[in-house]
Amino acid sequence: MSWELLLNSFGLATMVSFFAVLIGWSVAVFLASTAGRWRIVLLGGSIAAFSLPPFLVVNTWLGLLGNVGVLKPVLPVDVYSFGGAVWLLTLMLWPVPCLMSYGALKRLTPELLDAEPGLGGWPLIKEVLLPLSGSALLQSGVIVFALAFNNIAVPAILQVNVFPAQFWVEFSSTYNFKMAWQYGWVLALMPLGVLLVLRGQEIAWPWESQGVPAEQFADRLGQALRRIGAGVAVLAVVISFLLPLGHLLVDARTWSDFPDAIRAGARSIWNSLWFAAGTSVLVVGLGALFSDQKGGRLAWLLFFLPGVLLGVVLISVFNRPWLGWFYGGSGVVFAALGLRYFALGWEGMRLAKRSVDADLQHISDLSGVPWWQRWLHLFLPQAGWAMAAVWYVVYLLCLWDTETVVLIVPPGGETLALRVFNLLHYGHHAQVNALCLILLLLAVLPLIAGAVVAAFVKRRAR
């Protein structure tokens, strides 16, 4: 086992966590002090930045600062470096601390603020805001750490040696399960540590509290700090969301290669859609089924476990003659993605069920209403949106996933994300832009379909 690589991974994940928390928290403070259109735009921008395909971000920065990047002559920074990996992963992950800190900051009440009428500016941050959001910062920092530590696609493309990527290479080059378990325990320590840190801690969801009116918060924060927050927020959204999107849409090659990319990648497009949509249905369904089981929390272990390790486990379990029908087909991909993201389904459905009117639930229990009727008439009208949101988050994560499926992808089962990963790794960039655009279109497809269905239902109701 290479301790040097392990330290490298720890260093990378620590730096990404630090910068992501710093940026995310600054943006969250500004969001809490802003009302109206700006808040909606920046909040939407933060969510959109997190929802972008990782490859789109990587490809953008390779286009800007890569070997023949457009900014290379004026900005001689090497993106193929440790610093480049920190930069890109930070750009992808800062929305996690931002949204979690925003939820925590919204717990600040006018009464709490009025208790210290003279407190403003930096002392307000030090005495009130930091302690209030400390738990969210720790939680989000740990989550970002785990996500950055487990990521193999970004460091591998940037030629940065990290432990999980080396694990993948070593296992692929030997299929030595003994070696895999020797390495694996270190990788498994990560999710265990995350679960221990998060154990018993409550997450502050942004929609749970009203918070202090933005004007009052802004007044107490002071102009100088607000301006800094505004600058960070606008820059963060522009650099991590608008820049990749703009780069993709403005680049002529995106459009010229688009028809070829569709022709060449038709099967991958279908695979991505099928695996992502199927897994998210499976995860939401099973999440609903098991949401009342407390042991479901253990599923977070699988979420934070590096995807390649999960792949190794699945190979050792399913690569058997009598399971060939499952191992050689799409089943193994559904199993892998389903296990990885089950925690989101379980947690999401638990929260969704909790939001349903308790009295109505009680009455339906007492009157012996069949479960499917309860679903149709009680759960769906009240928690349907929450369920759709969980489905969509899992759908997006499955769409971008490479780590979980890279070892187990069945013949003909290549996904778009794997295709882009391989093409970027080979250095054949011709179709990558167009493939990223297709990935983005697949990402918004359910939103468009949802909007069409909603419009249709509304029209019929009239």
């Binding site: 080059s173 060449a264 690569n319 060939g324 087909g329 559904f334 391989n422 080979y426 960039h429």
Partner: protein, 303 residues
Amino acid sequence: MKTWAEKWMIFVTALLLVGCGSGGDAVTVYTSQDQVYAEPILREFEQQTGIAVRAVYDSEAVKTVGLVNRLIAEKANPQCDLFWNNEEFRTHQLASMDVLDEGQSVETFGARTRQWVWNTNQLSRAALPKDLTSLTNTLWRGKVVIALPLFGSTATHFQVLRQQWGEKRWRDWCRALKANDVMTVDGNSVVVQLVGRGEVALGLTDSDDVRAGRKNGLPIAGQSIAEDGFSIRNSIGYIAGAPRPDLAKRLAKYLQSKPVIDSLVSAGALDRGAPDAPADIAWPSVVKENERAVADLKSIYLD
């Protein structure tokens, strides 16, 4: 409220519903040929024959070795019908491990060559080293990049050199090369990128990677390694116990047809005017020595 047993039944049913493998009238090929070259050819085969092709491509980081190990791991449970390799050594290795059908010999076609690749802004053709042993001179300290010699054609090249030079001379050279700060990276295409970016002046790579780099506008040039170089031929192996051996034969015949070889040459995957006769390499002995060579290479380049 459903019981645990009911919940698990629903869970298992859900998995079974989504888990059905899609075999049908399709041939499964594992190929280490670059995806950008292989894909159009396999698609053309589908169109011409109506036989669907289910392909698994390898990754640049674990070039060929990843697929070879997957085939070995699946030996008792073969999923693949045909292995299309863009080099020869690993196919012979699979044959020696009974992963390939005993009744079928390894077939080879087309060829690439091992090449010097250099940044034309930093080096001239005249300044190239005269042979591989010159790379250990201090003149080249920190100026040479190679793919990690555990994977792909670089691994094959190193193992062939071991056979040609003898173990001692080869090991000394490997150590001297490492001591001379040779840079090792993931794959031959990365070698070309680094040389193209001017981060390293000189590299060892394959002719198809040089052509791809030049097509991308990199300021590089390539030249075959005259002494101690070798031709890398594409190879085909038939998997023992393959689910669809007849379809595998049809695909293999198609891959070795003149139009396909011509299209691989036009795409830059194979060299024009490649030699018809196989290179004079005693593959069984290279395969036999593989484990010892890999152990040496690991101790020199990884530890």
